[in-house]
Amino acid sequence: MDFELMFTSFPKLLNATLITLKLLSVSLIIGMFLGLFFAILRMNKNMFINKFAYGYSYVFRGTPLLVQIFIIYFGLGQIEYLRTTFLWVILKEPYWCAIIAFALNTGAYTSEILRSAFQTIKPGVIEAGKSLGISNKIIFFKIQIPIAIRQSLPAYGNEIILMMKGTSLASTVTLMDLTGVAKYIISTTFKPIEVFIVAGGIYLFMTFIIHNVIKYLEKKYSFQ
């Protein structure tokens, strides 16, 4: 055990954790909107719209995140036309490519979580709102969405943890996140176990925090 290496690599890894957290939070926020949008599309009666939303979640849940990042980072740059548009400003940055891939991926999972949450809302709740003369729009925003969010908290907590682990893939497109820096230190010092303990410890700590925050929110917004 090389404790000195563990001690010196800790600040470097902690610094890289900031990038991991940035990637995670930005992609979760975008993914949340995407998820809500596609969950609403899934409940649409129009077959075409419904199938489109289903296809989106099927493709992004059925393929590895790594493939999605590579398609966006290496693949999209190949299209000549894209290089001439303003989109290229975003797509040439590995940071934004990673965020687009993560957001689309977590959006697909979030849409499934929210869809099943919307489906578990008892029809009586909506009927009660209707019989009180509340408009459909207000029923949706003030009754359905809050209940759905509460219902989906446990599953969404898991999704946040999965996404946090997913951000490690950003290191494959040259971003120096926590895993990227850990790999760099391992490949220069050849001490994998020490670095794994420190980097793994930081990840576990983040998992612990997320887990407890979700647990707290679940308790706070429970129906009882």
């Binding site: 393929t63 590895p64 590579f70 793994g200 990840y203």
Partner: protein
């Protein structure tokens, strides 16, 4: 389309073998995972606190740390660990482990943590009366597990194990970083030499979708078989 031709002119046969490699790694990893689950599930269900702790440590650490980090640990640390063990037995030559073994061990340990949780949940949801009835009838411990608990457990576990299989299948894409030529690595090579990454990575995505689709079909049939009578 000529990019996908079989033989020397295209990448069809290479990608076909790469797909077989992905399947081979996934199956091996899943089996390695079952082996780990077989060890750690009893630990998690044991009445001894210290054994529980070991079981919980395994599932918490592996499920809380990114897969890629575990793979790097195995990739960089695997041969070192083997050489250390070998040196105890007086063997000091350099040992290199095959990428297939490193990869399927790393993915297997990850998949094992998920399988352990699935088995634990399945066993815990079996009615206590089943255990007691078996005891009262004087069924031996061995027969109790194989003839009574296991069949009921499998029915409950299969839907969740199918999720573990999907996760394992997708995780195998990560061992491309160690150089094992599976779908992802082969697409990377093909994309590099043809300068057509969009096509090859999209094709890789299609291959993965096909694999997940076909395995879902297969698992659904298995599920129907094990839930006969329900």
């Amino acid at each position: 389309m000529e990019l996908l031709a079989f033989g020397k002119t295209g990448w069809g046969d290479e990608l076909f073998y790469a797909t077989l490699m992905t399947i081979a790694v996934s199956v091996t990893a899943m089996l390695v995972g079952f082996f780990f689950a077989l060890i750690f599930t009893p630990l998690k269900l044991s009445k001894y606190k210290s054994l529980n702790l070991i079981g919980n440590l395994y599932t918490t650490v592996i499920r809380g740390v990114p897969e890629l980090l575990v793979i790097y640990l195995f990739f960089f640390g695997g041969s070192g660990a083997i050489m250390y063990v070998a040196s105890i037995f007086g063997y000091f030559e350099y040992i290199e482990i095959n990428a297939f073994i490193t990869g399927s061990m790393a993915i297997g340990i990850i998949s094992g943590a998920y399988s352990t949780e699935v088995f634990r949940g399945a066993i815990q949801s079996i009615d206590k009366g089943q255990f007691e009835a078996a005891k009262v009838l004087g069924v031996s411990k061995f027969a109790q597990f194989y003839k009574i608990i296991l069949p009921q457990m499998l029915r409950l576990a299969i839907p969740n194990l199918s999720n573990v299989w999907q996760i394992t299948l997708k995780d195998t894409s990560l061992i491309s970083v160690t150089g094992l030529v599976e779908i992802m690595r082969q697409s990377y090579i093909a994309a590099g030499s043809t300068r057509d990454p969009l096509f090859f990575y999209s094709f890789a995505a299609v291959l993965y979708l096909l694999l997940t689709y076909l395995s879902m079909k297969f698992i659904n049939r298995l599920e129907a078989k094990y839930s006969r009578g329900y």
